[in-house]
Subunit: 231 residues, 2 copies
Amino acid sequence: MRITTVGLDADDTLWHNETLFRLTQERFCDLLADRADPGPLMARLAEVEARNLRLYGYGVKGFTLSMIETAMELTHGEAPASVVREILAAGREMLTEPVEPLPGVEAALEALSLDYRLVLVTKGDLLHQEQKLAASGLGDLFAAVEIVSEKTASTYSAVFDRHGSGPGRAVMCGNSVRSDILPALEAGAFAAHVPYPMTWAHEHAEPPVGHPRFAELASIRDLPAWVAGLG
Amino acid sequence: MRITTVGLDADDTLWHNETLFRLTQERFCDLLADRADPGPLMARLAEVEARNLRLYGYGVKGFTLSMIETAMELTHGEAPASVVREILAAGREMLTEPVEPLPGVEAALEALSLDYRLVLVTKGDLLHQEQKLAASGLGDLFAAVEIVSEKTASTYSAVFDRHGSGPGRAVMCGNSVRSDILPALEAGAFAAHVPYPMTWAHEHAEPPVGHPRFAELASIRDLPAWVAGLG
């Protein structure tokens, strides 16, 4: 068989994530509604997040710190203490939110796991990603879990060397063109894009339509057949 | 050779860490000096940290969030905004602090790397630990880096299976009896304790003096000779 390993992204590929961030952002806007308009507030939060990404990396803890920082900046340090407490609570709730696999995920992974080694490849807070995988009930379907600080071509080369027969015999599947698709193709792997209805601005990129090792799938339900078709 | 792999803890084994946390705690006490006495403030922070550990895991981001939460609790939500901003700044400074290997570390690792596979085994924020390793200049001496959410016997079994010939032919070295020594011994590995002058209360445990696979070393300088003596 040509393909030995299938890598899968986690957030917004196996379960909802961006939706939860958006809901928390709305709550953040509501908290500061009498002090700032939602538009500029969101723009400022995005700037603070981008500035802190190098330091905090991905995940809920860094996002919570960036919300607090933004609230302080935009209110010139006059954010009421209740706002800070509410932001802390919102962050904690994100970390304890129940995790439900997206429709079709469980069946697709079960089918794939019969023929291929499945590897979870995800960014974010180490502990939180492990907890989400455990809560999802999908953990036993994976042969390996790689929680990484950045998804680059060399990340994928290393992961597919370690858990398979190299990128040339591996598929990466995920919702982010920027993180899951382009660097996996660059590494020499196959890549299947399963879009999620919304994408974090930082992750946006155009799909490489026409690339010989790329497919755009409407649903993860189509992944097993596509991988099988690769030979 | 009996030993094939040497695992090394990072924080307070290869470079200072607890000192930096203590200095930041002192700064935190100074910030709130007119609102709370240092003793009760520290006790409250320790409680908040312990309560959040399950959610936040180890590392600077969770510590920063816990400082903010403690400040809010202890001042009944009346902490001035400047305090929150100062805490955020203190957290960011911890994340950008220069990393210097502790005395003797570089020479010990260079000697060990000639004969054994070195694996860094550490808890904490994924991105920050990677950044500290890069900043330390020690990265090239390690064959592998394992950043884990918890250090248990099964963690060490898995790590020493993956990067060597199993725990029976591996040594773990670190400053924390609770995280580096006891679970490594339980997994069947050898373990060398190199104490650091201070230990985070959460990490405290008694050294297993007399255990046949355990040694207490005054300095990491003594590690290569001890490992060589194991045959």
